[in-house]
């Protein structure tokens, strides 16, 4: 900038009444008076207006014209308003902006700086003061007021967000309970309870969706119980409708209520507000699935970043610096932790010193093959058992309910639950043959239990599909029967009218109308029954397996030959993987069944709530911390991955049923339609303007769909290729860094050796 301009600026600023610049000057002065330590935080800047270079020629004297012109300009500026000064001083503005940004960054990150609290508070105070005073200066021209308003709203918004975060943190339940468990058992057991709490949150959202948008509207505005055939208990079942046994099976009154699909009427709109129930039912079903996918994916991607790289570079360092768990607050757990750390070190030292021990490879391979063979047999046997149980339950359904005992009625659910309970123990037994390192053995065990539960679930679904097809066949017969029945009724009514002459209204009590079979309600009932029996099995197992065993060990120890506490039965350890898998599979069943039984998320919420307290009590009361503490660092991602897989596998059957099977003709919100998703088309025709319907019809053109699918496939391929390329580049960089580090080490060693040699040489000479 020419020196003349500099001089002009200095003059003008002196006369200026602009607040911000004067404050800025003050700020500058203040800063210079501050303690020296603040200097290091901010870069030293030179203000160009203060620097008048000595090399520049002295300013020329102004002649009258230019002086008058300048004065005129200045007066104009003063009239327009002080803000316009910013237009001249672009560089100053830039500097101010940079400074403000820096201060804002400081405010945002001061919590993460490794300073003492006093220093942090002071820095924060100064930064906030600076920002407050100088923010207004950034406003340009006439928009200053609007800019200030925007700033104020932004600040209020930030404050609101902060308060909301605090509120959310205060609302998180069971924090103390989890803390107590964590301090006694360490972070691995507590991770199960954290997972349980997270599931509770997800289910709460599903429950709110289904309750408020499906169950409540039907209950408030739909036709009440008893008015139409689908909402009434049939005459034949009326006597036993309120029995506990019947209700426990979710038949009778429970079946003809908002809890199940069959109760809902297919009226397009209900109530004063014209609430579109069938549409809402369909969309809530899809929204539940969509929300679950989103939330699980989000949880998975949060954990991906934490993945460590290779495990071997810093083996000992990590063992030394990260093996102590700071969460432990219980002497016994601490003892266990110390022991396991010591053992860990000893093992690592052994590995370091000794080479590989050659074992009998062939024997081991044979044993492992044998173990896998047994496992396969077990899986096949359990699959067949379930199929057989489902077939038997179909037979029982044909018989008179009163002749069946409790076992026959609940056989299938009990079989599934018992299999889930005993097979893992069998797997554990077979794993003895294999002789793997505990971590690898754990992975195999988890994989096998997963295969078992998955197989069971799918056999169950297949059997269910069988029944559904049977019911759909039955529907055709029932439809024919109903037309016959109606014809008979009309004939009887006509004859009665002609006979008497008085026109008695044609009335048939809803309970007497013959019903079509409702396969959706049956599916919903099956899932609800399965969930309930699973819950009961779990709780009974805990009571008997953990609590009674603990009581036995504790009290019979006094009069027993060997020490029960350290010897055979002893106290149970908390089985993390088994419990997590059980939780995941239960959730899979909820996802499958909630479209057909809107009450299922509600039942699950109740179950998770009780589980939290019950298992929390059981773990503190009857279990002991694991003696051998090891955990796979990628455990959390593994469980979330399984959850995602189960979610995917659970929604497949539901989507298949929605898209391919015809809904029952006289129950549920989609009765009368050819397919369930037709409700969308119907809504588009009636409720949206016609041009929109036409546009959407054009959009659902198969050619367009194909094009979209093709674009998606190409995008996936491209993203995959990019990700692979980046991973390869990443590995390359890591290798380079390792090489560099090695080279540095060698070089330093040489230098150190050279120095030592020089010193020794110096000493000698």
């Amino acid at each position: 900038m020419p020196p003349k301009k500099v001089q002009i600026q200095v003059e003008e600023k002196e006369d200026d009444t602009e607040e911000s610049s004067s404050e800025e000057e003050e700020e500058e002065e203040e800063e210079e008076d501050k303690l020296p330590r603040r200097e290091s935080m901010r870069p030293k800047r030179k203000r160009t207006r203060d620097v008048i270079s000595e090399d520049d020629p002295p300013p020329e004297p102004e002649d009258e014209e230019t002086k008058k012109a300048r004065e005129k300009e200045r007066r104009k500026k003063l009239m327009r308003g002080a803000e316009d000064d910013d237009e001249i001083d672009e560089a100053e503005l830039e500097r101010l902006k940079a400074e403000l940004d820096e201060q804002r960054l400081m405010i945002a990150t001061v919590k993460c700086k490794p300073w003492k609290m006093e220093k942090k508070i002071e820095v924060l105070k100064e930064a906030k003061q600076f920002v407050n005073e100088n923010e207004g200066a950034l406003g340009k021209g006439k928009g200053k007021k609007w800019f200030a308003f925007k700033m104020m709203m932004a600040k209020k918004w930030v404050k609101f967000l902060r308060d909301f975060e605090n509120f959310k943190a205060a609302c998180v339940p069971w924090e103390n309970k989890i803390k107590a468990i964590e301090s006694q058992f360490g972070s691995s057991v507590a991770s199960y309870f954290l997972f349980l709490r997270w599931m509770y949150g997800v289910n709460m959202v599903l429950f709110i969706l289904t309750f408020s948008l499906v169950m409540l509207p039907e209950y408030l505005w739909g036709l009440p119980y008893g008015t139409i055939p689908r909402k009434t208990v049939p005459r034949a079942e009326e006597d036993s409708a309120a029995n506990f046994g019947v209700l426990y099976d979710f038949n009778g009154l429970a079946q003809y209520s908002v809890l199940f699909y069959g109760y809902y009427n297919n009226q397009r709109t209900i109530g004063v507000l014209n609430f579109r129930l069938p549409l809402s039912y369909f969309l809530v079903g899809l929204a539940c699935i969509g929300y679950s996918f989103l939330v699980v994916l989000k949880a998975m991607t949060q954990n991906i970043g934490d993945d460590g790289g290779d495990d071997n570079t810093f083996n000992f360092s990590w063992k030394v610096f990260t093996s102590w768990d700071f969460l432990i607050g219980n002497p016994e757990t601490a003892d266990n932790k110390f022991n396991s750390i010591t053992m860990n070190f000893k093992e690592a030292i052994l590995e370091e010193r000794a080479g590989e021990i050659e074992e009998n490879v062939h024997l081991i391979r044979f044993l492992r093959f044998l173990a896998n063979f047994f496992v396969f047999l077990t899986l096949a046997a359990s699959g067949y058992l379930i199929f057989w149980a489902v077939k038997r339950s179909q037979e029982f359904a044909q018989q008179d309910p009163d002749t069946l005992g409790w076992w026959e009625k609940n056989e299938m659910n009990m079989v599934m639950s018992l299999l889930g309970m005993f097979c893992p123990t069998l797997f554990d037994l077979f794993a003895e043959l294999e002789d793997y390192h505990p971590l690898i053995a754990l992975k195999w065990l988890l994989g096998r239990i997963f295969a078992l539960l998955l197989g069971n679930l799918y056999v169950f679904i297949l059997a269910l599909m069988d029944e559904i097809y049977n019911k759909i066949e039955e529907e055709k017969l029932v439809k024919a029967n109903i037309t016959l029945w109606e014809a008979n009724m009309i004939k009887a009514y006509n004859s009665s009218v002609t006979g008497n002459g008085t026109a008695a209204p044609f009335f048939v009590h809803p309970a007497d109308v013959p019903r079509g079979p409702c396969w959706e309600t049956m599916v919903g009932q099956e899932f609800v029954r399965l969930t309930v029996s699973d819950v009961l099995t779990t709780y009974v197992t805990i009571l008997v397996g953990d609590f009674l065993r603990a009581c036995f060990v504790r009290f019979c120890n006094y009069c027993w030959c060997w020490d029960l506490e350290y010897g055979y039965p002893s106290y149970t350890e908390f089985d993390i993987s088994g419990n997590v898998l059980a939780l995941i599979f239960n959730q899979g069943m909820i996802w499958m069944g909630s479209f057909f039984a809107p009450s299922l998320p509600g039942i699950n919420i109740l179950r998770l709530y009780v589980s939290m307290y019950f298992q929390g009590w059981a773990v503190m009361c009857c279990n002991v911390p694991e003696a051998r503490v090891f955990k796979s660092s990628k455990g959390n991602t593994f469980y979330l991955g399984m959850l995602l897989l189960i979610l995917f596998l659970s929604t497949m059957p539901v989507l298949y049923m929605i898209v391919c099977l015809p809904p029952s003709f006289d129950c549920g919100p989609f009765s009368g339609k050819n397919r369930m998703f037709e409700v969308i088309g119907e809504t588009l025709e009636h409720d949206f303007p016609s041009w929109m319907a036409m546009v959407l019809r054009q959009l659902s053109n198969p050619a367009l769909m194909l094009a979209v699918a093709l674009v998606m496939v190409l995008t996936i391929y491209y993203l995959n290729a990019t990700a692979k390329g980046q991973k390869a580049a990443n590995l390359d960089l890591k290798k380079k860094m390792k090489q560099q580090a090695l080279e540095n080490k060698l070089r330093n060693k040489k230098m150190a050796a050279a120095r030592a040699a020089a010193a020794a040489g110096g000493q000698l000479s």
Partner: protein, 138 residues
Amino acid sequence: MGNKQTVFTHEQLEAYQDNPFRQRIAQVFSEDGDGHMTLDNFLDMFSVMSEMAPRDLKAYYAFKIYDFNEDDYICMWDLEQTVTKLTRGELSAEEVSLVCEKVLDEADGDHDGRLSLDDFQNMILRAPDFLSTFHIRI
């Protein structure tokens, strides 16, 4: 915690008496390095050990905790102290020194026989367990 106390001694952190590094934690976070903490120090400690603290902040303080002689480097003696405290003296002296040598071998980048803050941070930030173990829940 106490009734209207402004200075907390490390004995009052009863729940963590089994922590082998309890004295070091108190020393690092206390006002004068003598183990007595004011409310501000207390807040500092929980802020660093909380779930939300960023990795480098935790790494910085972990370095200070493991630096027993407070010379801004983790030297051989510091490492020996750490390992002994971790195993409660169950390892023999030979094993302890082997472990310490291995650690220096792995993590010492400039090979000066001790870990500087950079070496330590470089090593600890890649550890998968670090965030979950260096954490106290309130």
